[in-house]
Symmetry: C2
Subunit: 396 residues, 2 copies
């Protein structure tokens, strides 16, 4: 069988990630490859660190991009900070808290689970109760922005509670970084990881991470070796540590890093706070459109992520058929539900370069068209106007 070059269609990506990639970032990916030890590449890596510190709002020295997707960023946090026999408090209110539990167990440690309903934020009171009941707990892990549900939790309060009980915190910011308020230093987050393909609008495959001084101390004073050679920050630090003498660890994904660098340059040009505001304002417009149509968002307003809108599927609608028509006729991707929410919700992303007035109108128009075609019980002819009102109000 002869296989030919693959030419993907041009989609509009409004699922839970990847988001639409800015043409400048696609262009950066195609720039000439240079060596991973080339002085010019090393210079770019120093800039990357500065740009990531800006995005995370941190001065943490150990701020870098793990050379693998967000799941590997999660694993980096756990394998470096957890030792066999440790107790770790893990908050679960969606898929990714469950993956944290898996990570803790595979490190030979004991997870103490704090459970909240899917679609709800983590309840700080339950975290405090767990800390009181488990004084030996060395870590609290939680998901800041649950990609599976669209709920955001109060990272600042959870971090303060953990510190008050002598524990460090690990936060999953895969979906929040660049898209909604996040202050690593201001909130006291000790270890944080994200993904390149959400609100940074880069291609998937890289995981920005940052570790506080307290976290670094703990990593340096481990009694056991980190179980992963590839993700061992003691080794990675000597490569990313700066200076002219970098020890070879692994071959960095050069062109993917060109893309992330460009994504972060774009973020810096827009301004971090402006990016947060854009995500929020366009979420208000999208939400107004959905609500006018009669579609309900499942997450309580106070905990709603602007960049990920989780919508209850109207009764009697074949949700997979809707997504399939949107994809095949309109080249529009929206996300299905995951785990406990599979079949019950759609996840509509407004992340990074996907968060534009154009996409808000297009998504509402396409969903109205397809739902009407399938005789779903929705209100017709009002969604676009409702969104347009807010778009104009907000000055776009």
């Amino acid at each position: 069988m002869t296989i030919h070059s693959f030419h993907p269609p041009v989609r509009t990506l409004m699922g839970p990630g990847p988001s639409d990639v800015h043409p400048r970032i696609l262009g950066a990916l195609a720039r000439p490859t240079i060596g991973h030890l080339d002085p010019l590449f090393v210079g770019m890596m120093d800039e990357m660190k500065t740009l990531l510190q800006y995005a995370f709002k941190t001065k943490n020295e150990l701020t870098l991009s793990v050379s693998a997707p967000g799941s590997a960023g999660m694993e980096t946090a756990f394998v470096n900070l957890v030792e066999p026999g440790d107790t770790v408090i893990v908050c679960q209110n969606g898929v990714f808290g469950g993956r944290m539990k898996e990570n803790v167990e595979r490190c030979g440690a004991t997870p103490v689970m704090v459970q909240d309903d899917w679609g709800m934020p983590v309840d700080p009171q339950k975290v405090e109760d767990a800390l009181k009941a488990n004084p030996a707990a060395k870590l609290v892990a939680f998901v800041h922005a649950e990609t599976s549900t669209g709920a955001q939790s109060d990272a600042k309060t959870i971090s303060h509670l953990a510190h008050a009980h002598g524990a460090l915190v690990i936060a999953d910011a895969v979906t929040s970084l660049g898209g909604s308020e996040l202050e690593v230093d201001g909130w006291g987050i000790d270890a944080i990881y994200s993904g390149s393909q959400k609100c940074l609008s880069c291609t998937p495959g890289l995981s920005p991470v940052s570790f506080s001084e307290h976290a670094v101390e703990r990593i340096k004073s481990r009694k056991t070796k980190v179980q992963s050679w590839f993700l061992d920050l003691n080794l990675v630090m000597s490569y990313w540590g700066g200076g002219t003498k970098r020890a070879y660890h692994h071959t960095a994904p050069i062109n993917a890093l060109y893309g992330l660098h460009e994504a972060l340059v774009i973020l810096q040009e827009e301004g971090l706070e402006n990016s947060w505001k854009r995500h929020y304002n366009l979420h208000l417009a999208l939400k107004a459109g959905f609500e006018a149509m009669g579609l309900a968002l499942i997450v309580p307003e106070a905990a709603r992520l602007p960049q990920l809108n989780t919508i209850a599927i109207p009764e009697g609608v074949d949700e997979a058929l809707v997504r399939s028509i949107l994809l095949n006729r309109y080249n529009l991707e929206i996300g299905a539900g995951l785990g406990a929410l599979a079949g019950k919700v759609w996840r509509v992303g407004l992340m990074g370069h996907s968060a534009t007035p154009k996409n808000v109108l297009f998504c509402l128009a396409a969903m109205e068209a397809v739902l009407t075609e399938l005789n779903a019980p929705i209100q017709c002819g009002v969604a676009v106007q409702a969104a347009q009102k807010i778009i104009v109000e907000k000055g776009y």
Copy 2:
């Protein structure tokens, strides 16, 4: 500080990898991003499996690309096949055998080391002795093509010895895949990993791997969970397994995979055996040029990798200065020595798209020019002719 877009220079990459990336592959990286669960992306992944099976010469069902660099491919092989308490025979004749030892230890197993000099191939007699002395050994791990020295070992003989003693084999083919003879099924290799950035001429960041049925049986019958969630093949299998229903594991690095797909399409167009032959013929030309100049290759001829030429540095030459002039004036990257060979050798790669008659002549001319400038004891004015003779002889 304002940071601007990064625009790398156009280098010629003749170090130990990354190699020059074909413009078709750079172009593929910049194609529109689609979702990792998009049916068209899933179709591309099915093609990728077929293309990788072709490159590895295998029918192994479990053939895929790990979403991270070669070091993570290595770790995938070890964390899936090794359990705590196991005994693993590890052959070391360079840097990467040492990294294998680290992997075995971090899996809680005991490595039994078989040592050979750097620059020499693994001695099969020593492997047999180790197998006899350690009947409990469940695995033999070795590096097929040592990127740190340029030596290739007899993968077929080592695999047969291991099987005769009831052990499986793990082979590192980071530098060999696509560049020199490699037959996964024909030689009986149970687990193999490679890198995208060597003889496949793709950008760094992905690791093609393949596992035999025996290896899969062992993975499925483990007594303990794989310590890495990200690299657990039991989970990855349900995503890459084929069919229309793929369980979400992690977000695949979409655009990087476009690049690898294109690289493999190019390999298929050239023909695997033709690619091996091109690497070998152009190595002969490069070698003739170096030898005419008076530069000696350190690896014995029978074990020499055509795609990685390790040259002894002439006495009194500041090797770092040579590399620096080559890089800054001629945009030519060659590699330094690593580990025990640091300061003693240069590593000149002829990998993938870097293996062209043009690069052979250019590299010889540039090295002659710089070495002459620095008064190195070399023969002038003969290298280009020596190489040209072979290039013409071989019909390029």
